[in-house]
């Protein structure tokens, strides 16, 4: 393969630096900080070691000076035991001295010598051990603090970056969702300006255009509700109504989008049964579920709506014949700004807000929204649960 031109290589490097610059800078800072802490710990350790050696040397010098004074001033043999003028030294016989002899008193008293007092040696050792423990403890604590801070900072940055990426994808999807219906409607209106249509030709086109307007309306509704939910949630106005007639009226309004043969409806509870919920919120949820079933229902979607009551609850479920999902993805799709993997949803319109909003609204009314599928290609069922009015 031919080598890339230098300009392209330089550009690639700058692009790489732009993308990974912050991570690189962060890693360099953390490593530098860790090296500095280690260096500081090593420096302190060497200092306390040197201090111990110096204190020992100072004691040896004092012992030599004392030996010189005793030997050269003459007089009687010094008394065995601690030296009164120096808290560190003692006079001992050669036999008692062992390895701690600091200076001999030859030639006047060859069997005597000056030694370090055992309690002073013990004190030296304890001081050294205490300082060593302090250095090790402090540097260990600092290293752990650096590592934890780096981890926390990295995690915060990662979460921030993920959230930024999700928001970018979300707004890119919203832009796409806004532009696509406008493109269709604009092209429709421009075509109407330039050519004549018979009523028979016009009606299906009007149906398609109306569907695009509905999409825009639903997008606007979802964005508004989503924003209100993020600010603490819309105040829902619940009232008592019968879900059966409500659902049938909703489906009647959606007949233009699919032939009757593609939509089924069954009710296992009487029309007199009533729920307590916010009808506007229920309509938003149903709009999202209907749109979802159309979007992912396959080329010739078979959509089945069902209404049933179970133990103080009413369930409205919609089952499609479409692409379904793996059982593990049943919760993933209800997260804000999330859609299933790009492979799963590739090319299908949607903002990733619809199901999140729908579940939040359902839960605020004391109900719930769940999804189930036996697997990819097996279709999916979304079930809205509402409270029965008492």
């Amino acid at each position: 393969m031919a080598a890339l031109p230098r300009r392209i290589r330089v550009n690639s490097f700058w692009r790489w630096l732009k993308r990974h610059g912050n991570t690189l800078l962060f890693t360099i800072s953390v490593v530098t900080l860790a090296v500095l802490v280690s260096w500081w710990a090593l420096f302190l350790y060497r200092t306390i070691k040197q201090e111990r050696v110096m204190r020992y040397e100072s004691m040896r010098i004092s012992a030599s000076a004392l030996a010189y004074a005793l030997v050269h001033t003459g007089g009687s043999a010094p008394l065995l035991g601690p030296v009164a003028t120096d808290e560190r030294l003692a006079i001992a016989t050669r036999a008692q001295a062992g390895p701690h002899t600091l200076a001999g008193l030859a030639p006047l008293w060859p069997d005597l010598c000056i030694v370090a007092r055992p309690e002073y040696l013990q004190q030296l050792k304890e001081d050294y051990e205490a300082k060593k423990a302090m250095v090790l403890g402090e540097s260990g604590f600092m290293l752990i603090a650096v590592v934890i801070s780096a981890f926390m900072l990295h995690r915060v940055t990662w979460l921030e970056r993920r959230s930024y990426r999700e928001m970018r994808q979300f707004w890119s999807r919203v832009t796409h969702e806004l532009k696509t219906p406008i493109t269709g409607i604009k092209a429709f209106l421009q075509t109407l300006q330039s050519r004549e249509f018979s009523r028979a030709e016009l009606m299906p086109l009007l149906g398609l255009a109306l569907r695009e307007v509905e999409r825009q309306e639903m997008l606007a509704e979802n964005l508004l509700v989503g924003q209100r939910l993020e600010r603490g949630g819309p105040g829902l106005t619940t009232r008592v109504f019968a879900p059966g007639p409500f659902l049938r009226e909703f489906l009647e309004g959606h007949r233009i989008f699919l032939p009757d043969s593609n939509i089924g409806y069954s009710a296992e509870c009487p029309d007199s049964l009533q729920v307590r919920a916010d009808p506007d919120a229920v309509r938003v949820i149903l709009e999202n579920l209907a749109d979802n079933a159309l979007k992912y229902g396959g080329a010739d979607p078979q959509i089945r709506w069902a209404l049933r009551s179970t133990g103080g609850k009413v369930e409205i479920s919609v089952t499609d014949s479409g692409m379904g999902f793996t059982p593990g993805q049943g919760e993933e799709m209800f997260e804000a700004y999330q859609r299933l993997s790009e492979h799963h949803t590739s090319g299908r319109h949607g903002t990733g807000m619809g199901l999140y909003i729908s579940r939040q609204l359902a839960r605020r009314m004391g109900g719930n929204l769940t999804a189930s599928s036996t697997g990819p290609g097996q279709g999916a069922t979304f079930t809205l649960t509402l409270r029965v009015a008492e």
């Binding site: 890119s172 832009t175 796409h176 532009k179 696509t180 219906p181 406008i182 493109t183 269709g184 409607i185 604009k186 092209a187 429709f188 421009q190 075509t191 330039s194 050519r195 086109l205 398609l208 255009a209 569907r211 695009e212 080329a299 590739s346 090319g347 299908r348 319109h349």
Partner: protein, 129 residues
């Protein structure tokens, strides 16, 4: 008669483009997704003089379809249609072998003018060869 292949999954947009191209005297072959278009293009080599590809398609994207067309040695002009108006997206498509790129929402007259320009150029290049 020139034949234009249109790959667009949005029913209203697809219908409107088809109606307008037909009014211009062009034959239109419409597809909702890229895979069936590729099968058609391979079965009928040279039958189309222009491809109009939407980028966001279910399954294979328009960009992947473009790459696949070029990989199969189909050099017919391709115009990309998409709601993605970022410069990177345009540059990527043009670098991969697209001949034109029209962001949505477009003006139908502009679309027709661009289609005619691409067909004229393709015709002139065909005559030269």
């Amino acid at each position: 008669m020139h034949r234009v292949v249109l790959v667009e999954d949005e029913a209203l947009i697809s219908t409107m483009i088809r109606l307008n191209l037909e009014q211009e005297g062009l034959a239109v072959e419409s597809f909702c997704e890229a895979e069936s278009m590729l099968t058609w293009a391979e079965a009928q080599p040279g039958a189309a003089q222009l491809f109009l590809l939407d980028i966001m398609l279910p399954g294979m994207s328009g960009v992947d379809a473009l790459v696949e067309l070029r990989r199969r040695g189909i050099g017919t002009p391709v115009m990309m249609l998409t709601a993605r108006a970022e410069v990177e997206s345009k540059v990527e498509a043009l670098d991969l072998g697209a001949d034109d790129y029209l962001p949505k929402p477009f003006n139908v007259r502009e679309l027709l003018a661009r289609v005619n320009a691409l067909l004229r150029r393709a015709g002139a290049e065909g005559a030269k060869e």
